[in-house]
Amino acid sequence: MDVSIEHLLRELTPQVLGTVVRRFQDFAAAEDAVQEASLAAAMQWPREGLPENPRAWLTQVAFRRMADHIRSESARQRRESEVALEAARTSESTAFETAPQEDDTLVLVFMCCHPALTPASAIALTLRAVGGLSTAEIAHAFLVPEATMAQRISRAKQSIKNSGIPFQLPTSEERAQRLRAVLHVLYLIFNEGYTSSTGPDLRRADLSHEAMRLTRIVHHLQPNDTEVAGLLALMLLTDARRLARTGAEGELIPLAQQDRALWDRQQIAEGVALLSATLPKGSVGPYQLQAAIAAVHDEAARAEDTDWPQILALYELLKRMSDNPMVMLNHAIATAMVHGPSKGLELLRALDSDARLAGHHRLDAVRAHLLEMAGDHEVAITHYRIAAGRTTSLPERNYLMTQAARLSEGPTSAARTAPPTGQ
């Protein structure tokens, strides 16, 4: 398909879907109708040219599909509500208003990221209903069969139907919490793409771009929410390093050894500008802090120029806000970089009793690195190998085994750089 038509369709999908759901109050059926309308457009538009008003065209086709759907449903059940039938009748006879209601897209986002859904369901539904991706594309991105993804999406829609979530914005009391759930889903989509941007399937990287596109939409709709802006900045500043973080063979390259010439300067500048505009607005949250940490790394010309005291200060703040054990690990790394490895190792000992980290490879990986910094190579080797046995990431396992092998093969100078596990 023509790329510009594809982009246009994906941009229009949530708007049209919003209009159709608002009209018919049946999200599951509306979603199917809009997918069919998009398919029809993808077939017709390249051949016959763009209609004068593409959104009105799509809305009209989707409305007709809904009318067909309601008729066949009521023929089967003979007890369809008058409201729906009336909507079906008028949708054909009147020139309905297609005035886009910006809030519709936001309502859709809230609906797809509803806490009643599992993360996997919310991700799939958001990519399809808001992102306008086809089921096949989403299945491909997650390396599962199309039928499996179709089933996952249909179950998600069923959950929404069963839970009776109305198609409206959350109340002001719920709003902040619901927005956090949205941001979490967007963050997960971003990571899914970011953590699998190597290997034979480069398409998975598209998930990061899709997450950034969706976050931009939410940012546009909620320009004053500082955490939305913080998440977008975090994505920009992290994704900017994508090309540098893996080598030609897909091997992991830790931050300190990355070729910084490969970092995307334009994206860094955009992320920094966004963050600088956001931080003074007050209400600093975890995404903004993480973005700030990413920015400090991105702004160092060389690894040794990294402003670790500032990173440590940011982790101190983050630690007060979040009970995430991974934040504690990164805080220990930053402490080691500022005050020396023994201070960092001391903090790690306190984490040994944290049940959430029990058996987690990252605790061993960080410990190995700090032990190496401290010159205790024998014990460092042991921990690199324990970590290698526990990770479920192939590139990371290769990296950790290589670290152990490097240390056991000969005396080299102790690493003075930060481990790859921390920002």
Binding site: N191, M326, T392, P395, T421
Partner: protein, 131 residues
């Protein structure tokens, strides 16, 4: 996260299975079809394959010039893979629950077979940068 669920058995177990009654076999086949449908309906299915019986299994090693040297002899105690499922789930516990379902596949007389299922995580791409 993806997990592989592997069902293995000794040569003698395959021979035993081949001698089940028609009724027991059909119950077992029906269970497996239903199990597969459950995985598909729940949106967790990635792939599944059953393997041919080990009778024709060969051990292959490269010879001095890289040519295949096949060896059909295998010890009785060795476990052979009978088949596997790959599922995409949200937690290891969910994978264990699915494996327990497979393990409960009916044996002779409809009694659950309680066959051991080895559950292993499939390796993924590079780790995420941390939250």
């Amino acid at each position: 996260m993806k997990y592989i669920l592997m069902m293995s058995a000794k040569k003698a177990d395959f021979d035993w299975y081949a001698n089940w009654s028609k009724h027991d076999l059909q119950a077992n086949f029906a269970f497996m079809r239903g199990f597969s449908k459950e995985l598909k309906d729940s949106g967790t299915f990635v792939s599944a394959e059953g393997l041919a019986f080990p009778d024709q299994a060969k051990i292959v090693r490269a010879g001095s010039s890289g040519e295949p040297i096949t060896d059909a002899v295998f010890p009785e105690a060795k476990e052979f893979l009978a088949g596997y499922w790959i599922v995409d789930v949200e937690s290891p516990e969910q994978a264990y629950r699915i494996a327990a379902r497979a393990s409960a596949a009916p044996g002779p007389g409809g009694t659950p077979g309680n066959i051991p299922i080895e559950v292993r995580q499939v390796m993924s791409g590079p780790p995420e940068e941390l939250l």
